[in-house]
């Protein structure tokens, strides 16, 4: 078993008066895709936002590659090599695709430009709309752009929040391919409600409920466990 690249332990997060994360603990292992599952409001997105520093952790520790980052600012965490793709994708609609990528590129060195070329090879549509405003892209193309922005730097951990939300099944398959390619270079923590996508890319899972982890294990075990799927994810087999 590979060692943990990110360890979240006993983290509490408040949004206003609401106590969203209530002592959440989990680990993301190197060379694997970790999936956070759970119903709406379970605290999945809040977990990612707390990890990247957009929401402050009131208590607990977040250790990334041996360094505590729970008190760091978001830009410091991003510069440590953590990429973030929010649920709404965070596309700058008024900027062109090229400008979106330029904002994302933390360096202009040869390595970054090589990664840019590789990323554009992976998402050919972005090359086609290179000088177009990102606001005119389709939902799937926007999602591709958001992933491309996150992996153009030397990212060793990628936090992705519900990438399949609102996308057509055929686009979801494209995203699954993309994430399977990305996981060869970067550790991925994926928040997902679409169990087809989660089970297609995930190696390990953590189920969240009321801001805590209530179950965890390897993805094949969850795929077999219909009772657990039904209880926490609302998935039931049509007889």
């Amino acid at each position: 078993m590979s060692e943990a690249i990110l360890a979240v332990s006993g983290v509490h997060t408040f949004i206003g008066q609401h106590h969203i994360l209530q002592g959440i603990s989990f680990e993301a292992r190197a060379d694997a895709v970790t999936v956070l599952l759970g119903r709406n409001g379970a605290g999945k997105s809040t977990t990612l936002k707390t990890t990247i520093g957009l929401l402050p952790a009131a208590r607990g520790k977040i250790v990334y590659r041996g360094k505590e980052i729970q008190d760091c600012k978001p830009y410091e965490i991003a510069r440590e090599g953590i990429g973030f793709i929010p649920e709404h994708m965070g596309i700058f609609a008024g900027l062109t695709v090229e400008e979106n990528m330029r904002v994302a590129m933390l360096s202009e060195d040869a390595d970054t430009h090589r990664r840019l070329e590789r990323t554009l090879d992976m998402f050919a549509d972005l090359r086609k709309f290179w000088r177009a405003k990102a606001g005119i892209l389709s939902g799937g193309q926007k999602q591709m752009l958001s992933i491309a922005r996150a992996i153009v730097n030397k990212t060793s951990l990628l936090l992705i929040d519900e990438p399949s939300k609102g996308l057509a099944p055929i686009i979801v398959d494209v995203l699954i391919d993309a994430i399977n390619q990305i996981k060869e270079r970067s550790v991925v923590i994926l928040v997902e409600q679409n169990f087809y996508m989660a089970s297609s890319v995930g190696d390990y899972f953590f189920i969240l409920d009321d801001g805590m982890v209530v179950h965890s294990g390897e993805m094949p075990a969850l795929i077999q466990d219909e009772a657990l799927q039904s209880r926490y994810l609302g998935i039931s087999k049509i007889s």
Binding site: K73, G90, R102, L106
Partner: protein, 329 residues
């Protein structure tokens, strides 16, 4: 259906309305006077643009309602006034080179001084109230009182006459159209600042990051950019533009007085609401609409001059609440 079509074409409809507003006064104003008023309106618009663009970028990127912007504008005017007083022989010299030199020295001194003041204001006061508009209004209003009182302490409470450099005074008479020299200079300054800002915002990486920050600050941070450093820089640039606006406006109105910022801050907010928050082009278009309308109406119906821009602002708010050119569109 009709409503959605209206919403879709609201920018075009509003711009057509603006063009009509521009041409309509010809019905009641002789053509030569109309051209003189148009030049005056363009010059006033350009000066308002200098103030409003700072307000717009600061609000657009930082979500900060900076009521102290007007007092920074006044500080710019007073620093310029001091430089002019110290270099009065250059101001009164019949030499374009010396007149330009004194203007440039005053401009650079005012912009640097007020930019530093802006940095201090952002670091000490504004940073504590990010995300809270009520506190921003209260605390920047408080800062305004302090800054205006400091002007009274350093320069005295009375109005002062601002001397325009000798070669900038007077006018040209071109086919019976009176063209004031300084108004032409104001238009050139406004266009240069607009071009410079567009160049920085569109062609440099820093400018692109600022535009991205106007759309989504959190995402810019999550991409590894220090948004707080960017905030300070933008605040300093906004303050420097206010200073330039203050200096240029004091030469336009031929006076400086401690409360001068308040008058123009009101205009700046009207401009920003008309043009759209966070947009430099929006600020320019909004400022020109305000400047031209003010001058036409002041000639035709003097008592309505101040109110007409508020009326335009209300109409824009009803038709297109985000303004003509909001950032991100």
């Amino acid at each position: 259906m009709a409503e959605s079509v209206f919403r879709r074409f609201s920018q075009q409809i509003t711009l057509i309305g603006a063009v009509v507003l521009f041409v309509l006064p010809l019905l009641g104003i002789p053509p030569t006077t109309y051209l003189t008023l148009t030049l005056a309106g363009l010059a006033m618009g350009m000066l308002l643009f200098l103030v409003a663009s700072g307000v717009s970028i600061i609000f657009g990127l930082m979500d900060v309602l900076n009521f102290a912007h007007g007092s920074l504008f006044a500080w710019g005017a007073y620093v310029g006034f001091t430089v002019f007083s110290l270099l009065m022989p250059w101001v009164e010299a019949d030499s374009l080179a010396l007149n330009l030199a004194v203007f440039l020295v005053a401009m650079v001194t005012a912009m640097i001084t007020v930019a530093l003041l802006g940095i201090l204001l952002e670091r000490v006061i504004v940073r504590r109230v990010y995300g809270n508009h009520l506190f921003q209004i209260l605390i920047t209003f408080g800062a305004t009182i302090v800054l205006v009182e400091l002007i009274r302490v350093f320069w005295g409470p009375n109005d002062e006459v601002m001397r325009v450099p000798l070669t900038f005074r007077g006018n040209w008479d071109i086919l019976d159209v009176i063209v004031y020299r300084y108004r032409v200079i104001c238009i050139i300054i406004g266009l240069l600042v607009y071009g410079g800002l567009l160049l920085i915002l569109k062609k440099t990486k820093l400018g692109t990051i600022v535009r991205a920050g106007v759309e989504d600050r959190d995402m810019v941070q999550a991409m590894g950019h220090n948004i707080y450093l960017l905030f300070t820089g933008v605040f300093a640039v906004g303050a420097a533009l206010a200073a330039l606006g203050g200096l240029a406006m004091s030469l336009f109105s031929l006076q400086v007085y401690p409360d001068m910022g308040g008058t123009y801050l009101l205009f700046a907010f009207i401009v920003v609401i008309i043009g759209g928050l966070g947009s430099v082009t929006g600020s320019l278009v909004g400022a020109l609409i305000v400047g031209l309308t003010y001058n036409y109406v002041a000639y035709l119906v003097p008592w309505a001059a101040a109110g007409v821009n508020i009326l335009i602002m209300i109409i824009i708010l009803l038709i297109r609440p985000t303004g003509l050119f909001p950032a991100g569109e």
